[in-house]
Symmetry: C2
Subunit: 453 residues, 2 copies
C-alpha cells in the first residue's frame, strides 16, 4: 500500500466522466413509480409535465450502468470538484483506534454540501430544453442554495419554497439564496392552493418538506415553460450524486484501499445513495463485503421505524406514488429537531436495498450527533453540517468498537456538508437547549394513517 | 504551456516545506520595531513577555530567506491545504476578456479564510513553550475562528476580544468560536483597565481592532503563563502567510504561468504580504516585472491616505512602535463599513514596499466591492468574503481593461476567504442599505493627531 496523504485529491484527468446507475446491477429492481390516478407505472409522458425530459429518461433508466456527464456539467463540476477524500489521521490518533478513518468532504463549495452536484445537472438539462424558470423546495437550505448557484450560472429564474421553520431559523440561508438571484417563499404560503389549505388545516405550522414540495409542484405546473426540480429522493438525483461515489472509488483504488464499512447520513437518501452507488453494485455481485450504514435522526426515523409502502412524496398528495420506507406523507417531524433530514420518506433505491438487507440503518439522538460533530471539529478542523454529523457519530462509534476489538477496519464516511450555516443549532447545543423528540407510537400511527390505501 | 485545469491542486509531496521571508531579499529593510520607552529598537527580551519565543525570533529575523515549517504545523496544514489555485474560466468567458484570471482560494476551511495558516503556527509555538493560555483580538471574526480551531487542536485555552460591532453584526462568528471552546468578550469591555478607559471616553463606541488589541495584550501580560497572539500586521504573521505565495509559485511554475499582475486585499497586510512574498523577492532582484496591487476600503484607507510614520499597533498605546502607513492609532472606521479591513495601520513590510514604489494601492467603495463579489459568485460559484471581494473588484477592473486594449495579461488574485459568515452584509447590499463613509480630511486629521510625537 502506498503512503496515504492526508488529502487524496484527484487531478482533473482522473475525474469521473460518467455517473453510475446502481439500478442496472440490482437483481431485484425497486418497484416502479405509480400513477395515483391509474394505479399503473408512470410513463415518460406522465412525468414530463413536471420534470425535464432528460431527467425523466434518467429517472426511468434501469439498464445503463454508466451515463455520460455532459461537457457543460463536467465543466461546472471542475470549478469545485473533485472533492477531497481525507484521511482523518488526527481523529484516529485522538481516539487511539487501530481503525483507518476516511471522509469524503462535499462542503467546500458555497452551497456547503453535495447538493450542487445534482443542481448543476438539473439546471443544465432545463436550460437545454428551453425551460425559463424552475421551482423547488428547500428544508435546511442546502438544496435551495445549490440550486440558486446553478440557476445563476445557467441564467434561469428560480422560486424556492423554503420550509417556514427553516427560513426563520436560518435567515442567512435565505440571504444567500437571494444573493444568487432567486426568490424565496416561506412554506406553507398563501401563494398556492395547497399552501392555503395546509395553513387552514394547521395554522401556525412550521411547515415540512412535504408541504413545500406540494407548493413548488403546483406553481411549476401552473406556470408556462416552468418545471419542478427536487433535491433528493428520486432516482435521477441519486444518479447525479454518484459522482461522489465514483470519485471515492477512483481515489481508494489509486491507493489500494478497501473499505470495510461505508457510512452516510440519510434524509431523502441521495447523498448516501450516490456515495455508495458503485460500491453497492460490486457488493451485489459478491465482489466486496462492505457494510453500508445509513444514519438517520430518531425524530424522523423513516428507515428504522417507517413502513415499506407506496406513498406520495408530498403532503398535498400531488406527486406520483413511490415505493419507499415512509412515515406517511402527513408526518411532520418536531420543530425541535435542528438539522435537515426531515423528509417523511426515503429514496426508492435506498429503500429497496435496505428492504433486501444490503444496507443497515441506525437512528441517532441529536445531542449525541452534535457531541460527535464537535469532537470531530476540534480534531479535524472542519465543522460538520448537523446532517453530516449523523455519519460522523456512527463512524466514531465504529472506530471505538475497533479500539475495543483491536480490528484495523477501514471506515469511509460521507461528510456531506459544512455547518457554516448551522451555527444557531450549535449555539443551542452549547447552551444545553437541544432536546430530542422521539415520536411516540401514536405519532407514527397518525403519520401512517395518511398513507394512501 | 500545458493544458491548464480549472483547479491546480498540488499533491502533498509538492507542498512547500518552508516559509518565505521576503525581508531577506529587500535591499532596504523596514525600519525596526521601536520600544516606546527607550526610543531604541526592540530586542528579543523586550518582546518576549508579550509574544512566544520562537515568534519573536521570526519577528526579528531579517537574514534567512527560508524558515523550516515544523512537522506538527506541516501536518496541521495537510488537513486543509494546499488551497486550490483556480483558473476563472467562467468569469473570463462572461467578461469576454483576453486576460487570464487565476485566484488562490483560502476559504475552504471552517475558519473561512487564510487566517488559519498563522493561527496553527502561533498556537504550536505557544504549546511548545509550555504556554497554557492565549489572548487575541478579532474584527470580522476570521482570525478568532481560526485561532479557536488551532487552540482546540493543540489544547490551549483562548480568550478572544471581539470588536463589539462585529460581535453584534456576526453572532454566528461568536457561536463558532465558542463551539471550538474559546471564550469571546465583546470589546471594549469592563474586563480590562484599557477597556474601561475607552468606554469612559467614548461610551457607545462600536470598538475597533486597536481597542481589542489593547485589551488582549493587557490580559496576556497580567495572566500567568499566557501570551498574546496577533492575526496580522507583524512580520512573523506575514512569514506564516507566505505558505500562500509559496504554493502559488509552485503551482504557477508547474504550468509555466507567469503573472503580469498580482492583487490582494489589505487590512493588516498579512494575506497580501504572504501571497506576494516570493514573487516580490524576485521582482526586487529584477527577475520579474509583476505589478502588485493592494486593495483597501475607502473607509479605512491606510495606504492611500495614511502617513508613513511610527505608530502604536493599538488604541491603548501599549504596543511597541511600528514604522508603517497609518491613519493614527485613534482612528476608528465608520460602523457602516461592512467588511473587515478595519485596522488603522499596515504591515511594516507592506508599508516599506509601498513606500519604495514596489507596490501599488487602490481604495474602493464598498458598493462596487459587493457588486464585484456578486458578479464573481454568480459566475464562479464561490461567494467571496467582503474583504476578499476588494481583490475581486480590482481583478475585474483589470480584466475589463485588457478587453479594451486586447492585452492577454495573466492576473492572479488572492481570494482570501468565503462570505459564509458575511451574509448579513450581502443582505444589506441586496436591500440597498449599504452606504460608504469616506473619511473627511478633518476625520483623518483627528486620527493623525493621535500619532506619537
Amino acid at each position: 500500500m502506498k503512503n496515504i496523504p492526508y488529502k487524496i485529491h484527484l487531478s482533473e484527468d482522473e475525474m469521473p466522466k460518467k455517473w453510475h446507475n446502481v439500478r442496472s446491477r440490482m437483481k431485484e429492481l425497486p418497484p416502479p413509480i405509480i400513477h395515483p390516478g391509474t394505479g399503473k407505472p408512470c410513463t415518460a409522458d406522465d412525468l414530463s409535465p413536471i420534470f425535464c425530459k432528460d431527467l425523466v429518461e434518467q429517472e426511468l433508466n434501469v439498464t445503463d450502468e454508466y451515463i455520460d456527464i455532459p461537457e457543460e456539467i463536467s465543466d461546472f463540476y471542475k470549478m469545485y470538484r473533485p472533492s477531497p477524500l481525507i484521511r482523518a489521521y488526527s481523529l484516529e490518533k485522538k481516539l487511539q483506534t487501530p481503525a483507518k478513518l476516511y471522509y469524503k468532504f462535499e462542503g467546500t463549495n458555497t452551497s456547503g454540501s453535495h447538493k450542487l452536484n445534482s443542481a448543476a445537472a438539473q439546471v443544465y438539462y432545463a436550460k437545454k430544453q428551453g425551460i425559463t424558470s424552475l421551482t423547488t423546495e428547500t428544508g435546511a437550505g442546502q438544496w435551495g442554495t445549490a440550486l440558486s448557484m446553478a440557476c445563476a450560472f445557467f441564467d434561469i429564474d428560480l422560486t424556492v419554497y423554503m420550509v417556514k421553520v427553516s427560513s426563520e431559523q436560518k435567515p442567512y440561508r435565505k440571504g444567500v439564496i437571494e444573493t444568487y438571484g432567486a426568490k424565496v417563499v416561506p412554506s406553507p404560503s398563501e401563494t398556492t392552493d395547497v399552501g392555503r389549505k395546509i395553513l387552514q388545516d394547521a395554522p401556525g405550522t412550521g411547515g415540512s418538506l412535504g408541504c413545500a414540495i406540494s407548493e413548488a409542484i403546483e406553481t411549476a405546473v401552473k406556470t408556462q415553460n416552468c418545471r419542478y426540480v427536487l433535491g433528493s429522493v428520486l432516482n435521477h438525483v441519486v444518479l447525479h450524486q454518484s459522482i461522489i461515489g465514483m470519485e471515492t472509488k477512483i481515489a481508494l483504488e489509486k491507493y489500494g484501499i478497501e473499505p470495510d464499512i461505508m457510512i452516510g447520513c440519510a434524509g431523502g437518501g441521495s447523498n448516501l445513495g450516490g456515495f455508495i452507488s458503485p460500491f453497492m453494485a460490486d457488493k451485489l455481485d459478491g465482489k466486496n463485503n462492505i457494510r453500508f450504514i445509513a444514519a438517520e435522526p430518531v425524530s424522523c426515523p423513516s428507515l428504522t421505524r417507517g413502513r415499506y409502502a407506496l406513498d406520495f412524496g408530498d403532503t398535498g398528495k400531488t406527486t406520483p406514488l413511490l415505493m419507499m420506507y415512509t412515515l406517511g406523507n402527513g408526518f411532520i417531524p418536531s420543530p425541535n429537531h435542528a438539522g435537515g433530514l426531515r423528509f417523511h420518506g426515503m429514496s426508492p433505491i435506498i429503500s429497496k436495498l435496505y428492504h433486501d438487507g444490503h444496507l443497515e440503518a441506525v437512528a441517532l439522538e441529536q445531542k449525541s450527533v452534535f457531541e460527535a460533530a464537535i469532537e470531530f471539529a476540534r480534531c479535524e478542523g472542519t465543522l460538520p453540517a448537523p446532517e453530516s454529523a449523523h455519519a460522523v457519530r456512527v463512524a466514531l462509534d465504529e472506530a471505538v468498537k475497533c479500539k475495543e476489538t483491536g480490528e484495523e477496519k477501514t471506515i469511509v464516511f460521507g461528510l456531506s456538508g459544512t455547518g457554516y450555516f448551522d451555527v444557531a443549532a450549535y449555539m443551542a447545543y452549547n447552551a444545553g437547549n437541544l432536546t430530542d423528540y422521539i415520536p411516540t407510537d401514536e405519532d407514527l400511527a397518525k403519520g401512517f394513517a395518511t398513507l394512501p390505501q
